[in-house]
């Protein structure tokens, strides 16, 4: 069994750079949205640290990933480039996930093991159980990671997926990014019981709740689940508590249904400064390096935007391609 790579300062800094990339991309997408250039954005703002910490504990290239639409930071951590994500945002032909067919956020790349996503909430959960079963049959020690919001845990597919993976000890990590809101519906009207993690007990698998702004805690939790999955121990359910620092999407305005005092308080709890402070405290990062990284990332995103905006749209003649294998 190959060991999980140790969490060296270099790897943590690389993860931090990925977090910064996700945020810079997000900032840029909102500017482009206000300029009328991008139609629709789903923001990972508040989820980035949890997403990147989780993926950093896994092995892109070996493992499978069933991501959901809010996983922009996770997609970067899995190997997507800012340019590729911008190509999707502009719905260009060269969007590697779907060639501009799906809304941005439905990530997919076979060679990277990222299973094409869909806009429906929940179907990736039992699908991941099936992929986990296949990986178990193949016996190569790979696992399947699947992420979703707490709203998705109301779906029958969540329960069917957990039940199946638990029955067959499939190597699956169920990763819930609980931002406590499903569009305008709060967790208290969505999830019966204390939360998501407790539901694992019903399926006889471990369930853990972890603060999603704590990079090291999320990483350790996912690493432990990965070890369990790879050694035949079966699935784990992880609930990372995160913040939704933006509205659900650009078609939504959360000020219409959320308490302004709470929103203001949450804005002060942005997980990115917290991660930066943790790195500064450990002496792994200096303010100068931080600034250099931010400048680099901003330039990268700027270049990605230029390339993507100039890239050609899909050919109208390709509308009927890939419906069936022979067309």
């Amino acid at each position: 069994m190959p060991e999980a790579k140790p969490l060296t300062p270099e790897r943590v800094l690389e993860a931090y750079r990925t977090v910064l990339r996700a945020r810079a991309l997000d900032d840029r997408r909102f500017v482009l949205n206000r300029a009328g250039k991008l139609a629709f954005i789903i923001s990972p703002r508040g989820h980035e640290v949890a997403q990147v910490a989780a993926i950093t504990a896994l092995q892109p290239g070996r493992d499978r990933f069933c991501l959901y639409y809010r996983n922009f930071a996770a997609a970067l951590a899995c190997g997507f480039t800012p340019e590729e994500l911008m190509l999707a945002a502009f719905a260009r032909a060269a969007d590697p996930s779907s060639g501009g067919r799906q809304t941005p956020g439905n990530f997919g790349s076979r060679r990277r093991g990222i299973v094409i996503g869909s806009s429906t909430v929940g179907p990736q959960i039992p699908k991941a159980a099936g992929i986990g079963l296949a990986l178990k049959w193949k016996g190569e020690g790979a696992l399947c990671y699947v992420s979703f919001g707490e709203g998705a845990t109301s779906q029958g597919d969540f329960h069917e997926g957990l039940n199946f993976a638990a029955l067959h000890r499939c190597p699956v990590i169920f990763f819930c990014e609980n931002n406590h809101w499903a569009i305008s519906v709060p967790q208290s009207l969505q999830v019966a019981g204390p939360g998501v993690a407790e539901r694992a007990a019903a399926y006889g698998i471990p369930g853990t709740r972890v603060p999603g702004d704590d990079f090291f805690a999320v990483h350790a939790t996912v690493a432990k689940a990965a070890e369990r999955a790879r050694s035949g121990g079966g699935p784990t359910l992880i609930e990372a508590e995160v913040l939704r620092l933006q509205s659900h999407s650009t078609d939504d305005d959360q000020r219409a249904y959320r308490d302004p005092v709470e929103l203001a308080a949450e804005a002060l709890k942005d997980p990115i400064p917290r991660l930066r402070d943790a790195l500064l405290q450990r002496g792994w990062l200096s303010p100068e390096i931080d600034q250099t990284m931010r400048d680099d990332v901003n330039r990268e995103v700027e270049r990605a935007t230029e390339v993507a905006e100039a890239a050609p749209e899909p050919e109208p003649g390709s509308l009927g391609h890939h419906v069936y294998a022979d067309a």
Binding site: R64, D95, S97, G108, V115, P123, A129, D157, V323
Partner: protein
């Protein structure tokens, strides 16, 4: 050569394909030790083991989803839905996920799998064991839909479906599971191509396009018209998506009249699509409006024998419809 019923033919196809390719696996409710409620998977688990022939939890969405996961990883799953009526809990997985994987990913992913389900009525199954859902699945680009009516076709088409690179809904008319026996070819010789209709009765006066159990009913109806000098040409589509328009058009150009005979509810049934397409393609050859002979718009046959009888098409009802068309 072996004398086999349709359900035995299904089982033979599974057996042969599992022998040929060890990526082929079977999953569904009760498919293991019991061999399926209709015995379509009988003995497969004993031969191929509990991994390749897997009893699934009673959860259709996960049956479809797990099959999809296996297909995405290079296995060739054949999932059984115990009754076609119970594929509806898996509808989202089938139409939103499985059917669209290739398109959504711009060809990067594909999902070759087969979902088998007993379809149709006439076996005292009542509302939830008698429905004909083919129109729902035929409506979805990305899916192929197969609906055989003989043991030889069931075997040959299922083998072809398992080898096909696209996801396939394979509907088996349960009324025909044990209706007749045929000598079946084995191995490669048994294969039947998808998408090809068969002219199963020749006739000069009108064309009946049909599939599934209605093929047998239409054959009997045609026999009743023969003494009156009305000869019906009968086309069994065998595959509904893609369906063989050309064979139908050729026939209608000779006969000038066409009826579509289908067991599903009339409104929006797949027969309505066939009728529309043939009306468009054959307008200049037609001597009468394209007609549909279908089941009434009630939610499948009720349990009581009198109501089941009232629902089901039978040779009398079909003969009446064909006669009306011939006289138009």
């Amino acid at each position: 050569m072996l004398e086999r019923t349709l359900v035995q033919a299904v089982r033979d196809a599974l057996y042969e394909e599992m022998e040929r390719d060890d990526r082929v696996c079977v999953l569904g409710q009760d498919v293991g030790l019991k061999g399926g409620v209709f015995k379509a998977t009988e003995g497969l688990q004993q031969r191929f083991g509990a991994q390749r022939v897997m009893d699934m939890p009673l959860a259709e969405s996960s049956i479809a989803a797990v099959a999809q996961g296996l297909a995405l990883e290079g296995f060739v799953p054949v999932a059984e839905m115990q009754f076609a009526d119970y594929s509806y809990p898996a509808f989202n997985q089938i139409v939103n996920e499985i059917a669209k994987v290739r398109y959504r990913s711009n060809g990067d992913f594909s999902c070759p799998l087969v979902i088998r389900a007993p379809t149709g009525g006439g076996v005292r199954g009542a509302l939830y064991h008698s429905q004909s859902p083919e129109a729902f699945y035929c409506h979805v680009p990305g899916l192929k839909v197969v609906l055989p009516s003989t043991p030889a076709d069931a075997k040959g088409l299922l083998k072809a479906a398992i080898r096909d690179p696209d996801p396939i809904i394979f509907l088996e008319p349960k009324k025909l599971y044990r209706a007749e026996r045929q000598d079946l070819a084995q191995g490669e010789a048994a294969l039947q191509p998808l998408g090809a209709a068969a002219v199963v009765r020749q006739g000069a006066h009108l064309t009946a396009v049909t599939y599934g159990y209605m093929r047998a009913v239409t054959m009997q109806a045609a026999a009743r018209l023969s003494p009156d000098g009305i000869e019906v040409e009968i086309i069994d589509l065998r595959t509904l998506r893609p369906w063989d328009v050309e064979t139908c058009v050729r026939s209608i150009e000779q006969t000038g009249r066409v009826a579509v005979v289908y067991e599903a509810n009339r409104t929006g049934g797949f027969g309505a699509e066939i009728a529309a397409e043939l009306a468009e393609r054959c307008f200049a050859s037609l001597d009468a409006p394209v007609s549909r002979i279908a089941s009434p718009d009630v939610p499948a046959m009720p349990f009581s024998p009198s109501l089941e009888h009232a629902f089901m098409l039978n040779p009398d009802k079909v003969a009446d419809g064909l006669r009306r068309l011939a006289r138009y």
